[in-house]
């Protein structure tokens, strides 16, 4: 069977830990020409510069050649070609396909029409598993383990794909969650039920203050998008309440780290950047190592 990397729900605890261990080797030595002579296709049916550059850098540092597109308007997709036909065509050229698509389920479907491994680089609001892996890697690296962590998620927990996937992936590691969000953007029922059925401890709160900050290991901040609010006054209120300032970290645990999937707008004040607890830029860099690990895993290369 072909290797694919489609969804966090496909990953076992062993899969996760083995990818993290491989990623650590790439962090120690990012330039390894393990993919000499291989071709990696990056098909971005929806633009995402950050993710694409990260994957392409990973492929380049492994010595692979990269083909693909970042603007579907320049391809036959704009002429009405189906995803199936595009994937079939690219399969003739590439050893592995990295794809982002605006339709949900696109990556799973692509994996059914080709024998070439598919890496999902985001399918609509559904899954973005390499982001989850770099989040896990960041937890693992800063805390030394994934087991028994106290994790506070702040902001848009309703639409935030990254927090949903992270909850799913951490279910193997006995976490304690604090979900901090305005009522309008609280963690969806499905994920709260997921926590219950997997015996994951969690609480929900609307207040974001030292109460929760001082006892937690990880502050996972997310962006609150203006478009989610019909009442803009409410948005203005919420925007300021869920903003982290450096002074709020004064009595935090020494091991606390602040994560954010980026891009941030104003949910983390710029003065936090100077704190040694700010980790979001390194977090993004970890994406390179985890993506190197994922690409090699798809090609059975160690």
């Amino acid at each position: 069977m072909q290797n694919n990397f489609i969804s966090v729900s496909d990953l076992s605890k062993e899969d996760i830990l083995s990818i993290l261990e491989e990623a650590a080797k790439f962090e120690a030595n990012p330039n390894q020409r393990l993919l000499e002579g291989k071709v990696v296709a990056t098909l971005f049916f929806e633009p995402s510069t950050r993710t694409r550059l990260s994957f392409e850098t990973a492929a380049n540092r492994l010595g692979a050649r990269v083909i693909g597109f970042s603007d579907p308007n320049a391809t036959s997709t704009s002429k009405g070609e189906t995803l199936k036909d595009t994937i079939k065509m690219v399969s003739n050229y590439a050893d592995v396909i990295v794809m982002r698509h605006y339709l949900e389920g696109a990556a799973r479907y692509a994996s059914e029409v080709t024998d070439v491994p598919i890496i999902n680089a985001g399918d609509g609001a559904n899954q973005h598993p390499s982001q989850t892996m770099l989040d896990l890697y960041s937890l693992w690296k800063t805390q030394g383990t994934l087991e028994n962590l106290d994790i506070t998620m702040v902001g848009d927990l309703k639409y935030g794909r990254t927090v949903h996937s992270l909850v799913q992936a951490l279910s193997f590691f006995n976490p304690t969650f604090h979900f901090v969000a305005p009522d309008l953007l609280r963690m969806p029922l499905g994920y709260r039920e997921f926590c219950k059925s997997h015996n994951l401890a969690y609480d929900e709160r609307e207040t974001f203050d030292e109460d929760v900050i001082n006892t937690t290991d990880i502050l996972y901040m997310t962006r609150i998008q203006r478009e989610r609010f019909s009442d803009l006054r409410e948005y203005e209120q919420v925007k300021n309440v869920y903003c982290l300032h450096k002074s709020m970290l004064d009595n935090a645990k020494p091991n606390l780290r602040v994560l954010h999937p980026l891009p941030r707008v104003n949910e983390i004040a710029y003065d936090v950047d100077e704190s040694d607890k700010a980790y979001y830029f390194q977090q993004a860099q970890n994406g390179l190592y985890t993506r190197e690990a994922i690409i090699c895993r798809m090609l059975n290369i160690k």
């Binding site: 969804s7 729900s9 189906t82 995803l83 199936k84 698509h101 605006y102 339709l103 949900e104 389920g105 696109a106 799973r108 479907y109 399918d123 609509g124 609001a125 559904n126 899954q127 499905g190």
Partner: protein, 144 residues
């Protein structure tokens, strides 16, 4: 209800889906005799439906379709006025091309891709789209 010589008796239908089953099996166009009963008293279901169709047998593919709306019906296969086989409708591993995905952004609603569902929770009769991973509650389920 009169007995049939050869055909299928579909029993233990929750009354509210009796006519849905008529539709799923496209019995409107069946030339043989059909007896449909519904809102009959039932000890286990409260109100149940029963459909007797002469000279019509139900394929496994059709059983898969039935499972979506009525997961617990029984099928009695009749030959020569005798029940020769009893089949219990059970959820298949995957339900292909029967249910519409309720997620407007799912690929199955935009490209020529057959829908594919898995049973998410047998007790709640909820389904999960294999592609976009959306979970659909039983009330949301819409047939194609």
């Amino acid at each position: 209800m009169s007995a049939i010589a050869n055909g299928t008796v579909i029993d233990h239908i929750p009354a509210e889906v009796t006519f849905k089953i008529v539709k799923i099996l496209d019995l409107y166009n069946h030339p043989g005799a059909i007896t449909i009963g519904t809102n009959l008293d039932s000890k286990t279901l409260g109100k149940k439906g029963i459909i007797k169709v002469a000279d019509r047998f139900i394929s496994d593919e059709e059983i898969g379709r039935l499972s979506v709306v009525a997961p617990n019906v029984t099928l009695n296969i009749i030959k020569d006025y005798q029940i020769v086989q009893k089949k219990y409708v059970q959820y298949p591993k995957q339900i292909v091309g029967v249910v519409k995905c309720s997620n407007p952004k799912c690929i199955t609603n935009h490209q020529p891709v057959a829908t594919k569902m898995e049973v998410f929770d047998v007790a709640k009769k909820s389904l999960r789209c294999v592609y976009c991973e959306r979970v659909m509650q039983h009330e949301e389920i819409e047939l194609l």
